[in-house]
Amino acid sequence: MHPAITAALTQTDSWIQFDVHGLASQFWNNTVDGLAQGGIYALIALGYTLVYGVLKLINFAHSEVFIVGTFATWLTFYALGFRPGADPHLSTIEVIGFLLLAGIAAMAASGLVAVGLERVAYRPLRNRNAPRLVFLITAIGASFAIQQALKLIFGLNQQPQIRLLQPQPLFRIFGAVVTNRDIILFVAAVLLWFLADYFVNKTRLGRGIRAVAQDPDTATLMGVNKERVIVVTFLVGGLLAGAAALFYMMKIPQGAIYNGGFLLGIKAFTAAVLGGIGNLRGALLGGFVLGLVENYGQSLFGGEWKDIVAFVVLIIVLMFRPTGILGESLGKARV
């Protein structure tokens, strides 16, 4: 063999490694962290899934809906008088109150952007009965425009971190530290998912959403206001993305950056596909599975390979099970 090729091959061991020992020792830490991270993915994934279920549209700009929420969170903290750098000493009640306030602001901002997007970009296309490719390109354009607008307003760099909640270790599972933050993230994700699931499956508007997902024309004939259902769908997706933005800022306080939505968005979409897009339970399951797989992959291959793991998982899932673990089912009459 040519010496250069041999040299290139022998170099390989230096750039990728299989740290099985690291994976074993970090397993429970990874599990805790993966579930916390997975909760965030799941909440964003719900937005993709809802919109996809109703409109069969990959709302490419949903990642920007989410990142607007992170900026809203940061601005709320700032408006409340917190400044980067100084770690404030607050009582538990104060922390909860401020976080709730920031959460409401983030949900309002994200919800507003999602509904505005629907109004400005997608509704004119629907009125013109445009093909799906046109919707997708519009979504890309919208994602681009929002991202660049944020860049013009807030600049190229990350907003400096403002941390309200100091992670406190609460207890240990098999040696892995579980902090109050991890618990909040996990519980809140499951709770919000439960609310969304209840909304879609048990309420009158939710029935409308399922009806439109199943057959828009028949649903319209049966007296469902399709346009209203679509607006509500975007709104719910936006609200969940806003909540996800708050949790993301709790986990990564320096996370507000103009292009930060892209990676999270595509991972959340992966989570939605993983669980079965159009399926609310699938979004939750997919989020947690992706969070776990990514963290295990990080220990096994090293941190710089974390993102590749997510993309490779996406491609493999689409190859072998394009409908995801639980299958596509928002439109099915499943109660």
Binding site: H2, R128, L152, F311, I315, P322
Partner: protein, 356 residues
């Protein structure tokens, strides 16, 4: 009679008689350096090379997006592969065997074709928007590999790409690079134009308009989709190798998603499926930010908004729109005089209520 019809009615030699002066004019642009067109930030020949590079990318991406109707959001991945092939075989930073730069161009095409087959075989079974996301993931994987794989040298990158053993670059100045690239574009346009008129091209159009119907009519859709994907990939790789040779430097910084989106914007803006249209789109996307540097901060924002507005009012792009109106007019005319001939020329993008 309108322009397109008049053009179509000209004989082949007459068309050439018109086209050749245009091509000659395009060749001489950097020498003439017209003051209206002159760019302030970069020197004019370099700007023209950038435009030509975008034009080549747009022609390649047009095969995938415009002709076969496959939305590829990771095209920059192929571009990156081409650039890295050129860098690995010509830069003194690489431990691989050195090749003359000219040889790396076909090599880059072959390697990107292999990448196209690897990516296309599993993913082209997917439909529309899934394919878009997977290709987006592919583009990111390529970028992350460039970050993480040590032999690809991450941010420090490869220097003196495209130089020979004596350290001389392949071409001395930007004007020569521009001529070289324009020549390649002309060749590629001729080849792609022939493909378009062949059985392959008709199969692509059939797939683009309605995949199910194409399949029922006996078009082997999977095979032709792979063909489109691979040919598009090869042109992307070629363009990447040219870029690497001209710049002389390759690292992991110039292959992000934004670049992919700009490539796509060029194709969609100009009119997917229309060769002249995508060339125009490439000129708009590459040239305007160089000409009007004062809007450079806003150009991505403007592209984003332009894309939304365009999709709402003119989903078939700048030139596609004219073609569509003409096709409608011709249809009406032929209906009037009692000939039921069908006129094609609408892309899937133009067709209202297409493949829902």
């Amino acid at each position: 009679m309108n322009i397109r019809e008049r053009w179509n009615n000209l004989s082949r030699p007459a068309q050439w008689a018109f086209l050749i002066p245009v091509v000659v004019l395009v060749y001489f642009l950097p020498v003439l350096n017209p003051p209206i067109l002159a760019t302030s930030g970069t020197d004019f020949p370099s700007a023209m090379f950038d435009v030509a590079r975008y034009a080549l990318v747009a022609v390649g991406l047009n095969v995938v997006v415009g002709q076969a109707g496959l939305l590829d959001l990771g095209y920059v991945g192929f571009f990156a592969v081409g650039a890295y092939v050129a860098a690995l075989f010509t830069s003194p930073n690489s431990s691989l065997h050195k090749l003359p730069y000219l040889w790396t161009l076909p090599l880059a095409m072959v390697v990107t074709m292999i990448f196209g087959i690897i990516l296309g075989t599993p993913t082209l079974r997917l439909r529309g928007d899934y394919l878009a996301i997977v290709t987006l993931g592919f583009g990111e994987i390529i970028r992350l590999l460039a970050d993480n794989v040590t032999p690809l040298r991450g941010q420090s990158g490869f220097e003196r790409v495209g130089t020979n053993n004596a350290g001389q670059p392949f071409f001395e100045n930007a004007t020569q690079w521009y001529w070289f690239t324009v020549t390649i574009i002309v060749i590629v346009l001729l080849l792609v134009g022939n493909l378009e008129r062949s059985r392959v091209g008709r199969a692509w159009v059939a797939i683009r308009e309605d995949e199910d119907v194409a399949e029922i009519m006996g078009v082997s859709t999977y095979k032709f989709k792979i063909w489109a994907f691979v040919i598009g990939a090869a042109i992307g790789g070629l363009s990447g190798a040219l870029y690497a040779g001209r710049l002389g430097f390759v690292n992991n910084q110039s292959f992000d998603v934004v670049t992919s989106m700009l490539f796509l914007a060029a194709v969609v803006l100009g009119g997917a499926g229309n060769k002249v249209g995508v060339l125009l789109g490439a000129v708009v996307v590459a040239y305007l930010p160089l000409r009007f540097v004062q809007i450079a901060d806003y150009n991505y924002l403007i592209f984003g908004i332009a894309l939304i507005v365009l999709m709402i009012f003119r989903p078939q792009g700048l030139l596609g729109a004219r073609q569509r109106l003409l096709a409608k007019g011709r249809q009406a005319y032929q209906h009037l005089i009692g000939r039921g001939e069908q006129v094609s020329g609408e892309s899937a993008l133009a067709e209202p209520g297409g493949n829902q």
